[in-house]
């Protein structure tokens, strides 16, 4: 059972990785700052590095939502198995739909459902649930969105240049933001590694403690850290192209300055929250930032229908993963046969979704057409500007000539 749970936990880590590639890499891919393949490789490496950097989050995972310890209930590997099942299935479903939903919420939802079904409703710490899941879910996109909005406005205000005399636009070199995006998106990937890989480390450690092979209260062992780091890196490299498409092109069109502002806000929100102890979901922060930066630039429309879809997805994450978790917990309760049925059914469902996804494959080649399109537009713009400039010059020349013509007769008259 313990081995099964660890395998499942690592698979959850994998889905977490490819589900969340989009958070860091959707906007730079959309603006053409980094090539898609390079972007996922970079994100994978940084996730790997990030996972090794810190184990602070791993030590506190799942604490506070399910009452554990002497006065509460004992979490068994069965419950964790059921919870992971719910989380993985929900992650696969949202990936299939291309919805950026929080992997950590799926995990919490699965665990909560499993705990309710397996132990009873009193095992849930409602206040902890409110503080750790529901309030952050409301405030994460709000904070990130507002900050991204402010940053986008600032970035555009600071780089907008007009000729004081003629009022015509001067060169703004906003393409410079594209270089900056490489660094900011790397920062997001790193932050993701330090945050999300640890949730799985925490789970595996919890299982090991529950099984009695590890001292309670100790941190994750090295092989656990390494396995989780590699699972999330491989997942990231696999790339959740469907979600990248939603984040990079589905919500709003992203320009380099916007992408830079959005990524900076995402990175600072994640770093601030994980450092100051009010945990926010990476996915929700990133989505909020993209929406906020979309609102911050004049002439950009935010596709609110897509936003609504995503919000609906977030609303369902907790209960849906919870229901799957609860059903699995009930199955597991029946004994070894139940565990087998659950494992087989789960594997079958994941395989089905994988093959179903093959029907309409979204890969690095077609995730976002914006890159080429953006280049084409830029080209056209440059050409058009050159043409306009030439036109204006010709006009000015003609005018000067006319003036000269008009002046010469005057002079001859004199």
């Amino acid at each position: 059972m313990v081995a099964l749970v660890i395998a499942l936990a690592l698979f959850f880590d994998f889905t977490n990785g490819f589900h969340d590639t989009a958070n860091a890499m959707a906007t730079p891919i959309a603006t053409g700052a980094i090539k898609p393949k390079t972007a996922v490789t970079l994100a994978a490496i940084l996730n790997l590095v990030g996972a090794f950097l810190s184990t602070e989050v791993a030590k506190t995972v799942s604490g506070g939502i399910i009452r554990e310890g002497s006065d509460g209930v004992q979490i068994t590997p069965d419950i964790i198995f059921a919870g992971l099942m719910g989380a993985i299935l929900w992650n696969m479903i949202t990936w299939l739909k291309g919805l950026p939903s929080s992997s950590s919420h799926a995990l919490f939802g699965g665990l909560i459902g499993a705990a309710i079904a397996g132990i009873g409703f009193n095992s849930i710490n409602l206040e902890g649930l409110m503080q750790k899941v529901i309030l952050p879910a409301i405030f994460a996109p709000l904070i990130a969105g507002i900050v991204a909005y402010v940053c986008t406005r600032l970035a555009y205000a600071l780089t907008s240049r007009h000729d004081p005399e003629t009022g015509s636009k001067l060169t703004q070199k906003r393409g410079g933001f594209r270089t900056g995006q490489i660094f900011t998106s790397s920062l997001v990937a790193l932050a993701h590694g330090t945050n999300d890989a640890q949730k799985t480390m925490g789970i595996i450690t919890l299982v090991l403690i529950a099984a009695g092979t590890q001292q309670p209260g100790s941190g994750p062992q090295f092989w656990v850290i390494a396995a989780c780091a590699f699972a999330i890196a491989i997942g990231t490299y696999a790339g959740g192209w469907r979600i990248i498409r939603t984040m990079g092109a589905g919500l709003t069109e992203v320009k380099p300055a916007q992408g830079f502002a959005a990524e900076t806000s995402t990175a600072s929100a994640i770093l601030a929250s994980s450092h100051l102890g009010f945990a926010l979901s990476t996915t929700q922060v990133a989505s909020g930032s993209v929406i906020g930066s979309g609102m911050g630039r004049k002439g950009t429309s935010v596709r609110w229908s897509m936003v609504g879809k995503i919000a609906l997805g977030w609303l369902f994450t907790l209960p849906a993963a919870g229901i799957v978790g609860a059903l699995t917990a009930l199955l597991v309760k029946t004994g070894v046969i139940g565990v087998l049925i659950a494992a087989v059914a789960g594997t079958a469902a994941v395989l089905f979704m994988f093959f179903y996804s093959r029907k309409s494959a979204v890969g690095h080649h077609n995730a976002i057409e914006v890159e080429e399109a953006g280049q084409a537009v830029r080209f056209a713009k440059k050409k058009a500007m050159a043409r306009a400039r030439a036109h204006a010059k010709a006009k000015a020349d003609a005018k000067a000539k006319n003036d000269a013509d008009a002046n010469t007769p005057k002079e001859t008259q004199r």
């Binding site: 990130a144 600032l154 330090t194 830079f260 102890g277």
Partner: protein
């Protein structure tokens, strides 16, 4: 409820993001100014731009320093 923590996180996010974006935007603007044809001292503007980018990366590195417990603790 952890309203204070929420406020701190919001404030820190805003401050950090605005710092980075303002510095980088200034750098971008100064590069653009330096690139103008009728610019009197492009060298000065360009070096100012590089200073802005440098300060921006310093801010980012400071953020990294804060999140990696190996350094900050």
């Amino acid at each position: 409820m952890k309203w204070l923590e929420l406020l701190t996180v919001a404030g820190a996010t805003l401050a950090a993001a605005v710092t980075v974006v303002v510095l980088y935007s200034l750098g971008v603007r100064l590069t653009a100014i330096a690139g103008d044809a009728q610019q009197a001292s492009p060298g000065l503007k360009r070096s100012l731009a590089y200073i802005c980018f440098g300060l921006c990366s310093l801010a980012v590195l400071f953020g990294l320093y804060l999140i990696i417990p190996y350094f900050s603790s």
